[in-house]
């Protein structure tokens, strides 16, 4: 990986030059919140945005899309035409979230729908200073060493720009004159200071060591029912989670009833029908069972399988749950710290 420098005042000029590669997308303001939008005007980008309402997963697994068109002649694949695009402004936690989705969708049995969208998208990261809902330091996802094409790290009046891939190198060359290759000791000093500042700002700090064991031993604990008593089973936690990837399949007929599409849409393990099979038997009828599955998958099962939690500490569930059930509250409850349920 190599590092370059870009003057802050040149950012908008550079963002504009990225459009010669493809569509440019980044976070913009939406009331008090933020969402990814196409940056027709590069000055619309909300550089201060910490978390978008919906994570970048929507670019790779859209909430709803068509997989096939069917008719008498059988099934035909329908790939939406995904134009080359640049996704700017992903914070380290979201890049980690994307890397987890990559493992799920690209490793065994690669998913061609995900793959096509992923291959058409350049990822540009952006550093951030955490707020009181961020817990990426606890999940060790507060910094990135890969998973991006370029990563911008703000250092006062300039950006340190990490080049993470061959495509990233191409992107730099779109406007090479803006970049400076000379990194000096002062830059290093500033960078280290910035890291210390970032690390000191985390208000949510958890030791997740041994979490699988703690969850195993808490399998029958009252806390699950206590959370379930107030959970609305709305599934919002799944929608906003950067690593929740469950989906359903549905066939939708045309009016003729002779042809139609097979579509895929987001599902949540919080939905009651999630584990129901034909004949009506439901393997996870109780809300407490479904809550437990959600958090077991984030904090136990994924660690067993991949050696890391599938929570990237982005804070979206903390920001979103209408009744304040979230990964931080669940960790506190599991670790025996007082939680007001």
């Amino acid at each position: 990986m190599k590092a370059l420098k870009l003057k802050r005042e040149d950012l908008y000029v550079y963002l504009e030059s990225l459009k010669s590669y493809g569509e440019l997308w980044g976070p913009v303001g939406r009331g008090e919140k933020y969402a990814y939008a196409k940056l027709d005007n590069v000055r619309d980008v909300a550089l201060q945005a910490l978390r978008t309402i919906i994570p970048p997963k929507k670019f790779f697994v859209p909430p709803r899309f068509n997989m096939f068109r069917y008719s008498d002649g059988g099934y035909t694949e329908t790939f939406e035409d995904v134009k080359p695009r640049v996704l700017f402004g992903l914070h380290p936690c979201d890049i980690h979230g994307l890397m987890i989705l990559d493992e799920l969708f690209l490793e065994r049995f690669p998913d061609p729908y995900y793959q096509k969208r992923r291959e058409a998208t350049a990822i540009i990261g952006l550093s951030c200073i955490p707020d009181d809902k961020c817990m990426a330091r606890s999940t060790n996802t507060h910094a990135v060493e890969g998973g991006f094409d370029l990563a911008f790290n703000e250092l006062g009046d300039e950006y340190l720009v990490w080049v993470g891939s061959s495509l990233g190198d191409d992107l730099v060359r779109l406007n090479l004159d803006l970049f400076n290759e000379e990194i000096d000791a002062q830059n290093l000093q500033k960078y280290l200071e910035w890291r210390r500042k970032r690390d000191s700002r985390y208000k949510l700090n958890f030791d997740l060591t041994g979490m699988p064991d703690i969850m195993e031993l808490s399998w029958d604990a009252d806390l699950w029912q206590e959370f379930a008593d107030k959970c609305l089973a709305c599934g919002a936690c799944s929608m906003v989670c950067p690593t929740c990837n469950c989906y359903n399949i549905r066939d939708v007929s045309d009016l003729s009833l002779e042809s139609g599409v097979r579509e895929r849409h987001w599902d949540s393990c919080m939905n009651k029908e999630y584990a129901m099979v034909a004949g009506g038997h439901n393997f996870r009828e109780a809300r407490a069972e479904r809550l437990k599955l959600y958090y077991t998958h984030k904090l136990k099962a994924f660690i067993t399988e991949y050696g890391k939690p599938s929570c990237v500490g982005c804070g979206r569930c903390i920001d979103t749950c209408p009744v304040n059930i979230n990964v931080a509250e669940v960790i506190r409850a599991l670790k025996g710290q007082e939680v007001k349920v």
Partner: protein, 289 residues
Amino acid sequence: MTDNSRIAASASSANPFMPEQMRIVRRYDLTSDVRFFQVRPVDMERALSLDYKPGQFMMVSLAGVGEAPFSISSTPSRPGMLEFCIREAGRLTGELFKYKENSIIGVRGPYGNGFPLEKMIGHDILIVVGGLGVAPLRSLLLYILDNRDKFGKFYVLHGARTPAEMLFRKEFFEIKERDDLDCLLTVDNDPTSQWPFSKGVVTDLFPKIKELDPDNTFATVCGPPVMYKFVVAEFLKLGIPKHQILMTLERRMHCGIGKCGHCAIGSIYTCLDGPVFSYWDVLHMKDLI
């Protein structure tokens, strides 16, 4: 989770979600609500090269309705056809029961780990089925009959509620005539009083099992949920090791390849790491049964 080998998806398409066109060549009712389907890939070469393991499953697609997983009831040792034994239980099966011979349906797979045949070879085998549990275990049963010399002693215990509800009744009567296995049949009730074999629940047949070397035995059970507890207790009483007691599990599935999430149990996916699990898996993994 008895076998770590991952089985490749349908070789015919780069898109693992693409159903293959298959033709229903035969279908008939096994009971009032369970129907037998014999299907074959429309492409004849594909039909002959189609390979799978007993215990694996396929995703069946009906355009306009959706997709659902079904155990394969046929054996790879009789190539060219796939057979399913399907109960009308939901939206997709309700529609499937309207499909007649020569209709085309979508099928993709095979998926799942299947039975660990390479480990089972050379061992005594005990198969216990109840009701629709015969669907996946008929594949193993026929496979063993077709490779009889590779296995040791062979017991098959089959229980049904009534003679009329015994799936593949005629086939089991024929198998019962063979002298290279012990096939024991029982029914809970016999309203017609014509049933020539045992009466009672399937566990009542266990005392008839003689000369089984428990350490050298693989036992497998499939049936209604209530059956497992009692049958497994009998296996353990015989002294069969927990990791040699096998069962196949049902879960909701929308993909078959570890993506859609619905069949997740702890850190495993039933579609990839199952549906065949050992009793030891069940004991150490929460939520399995």
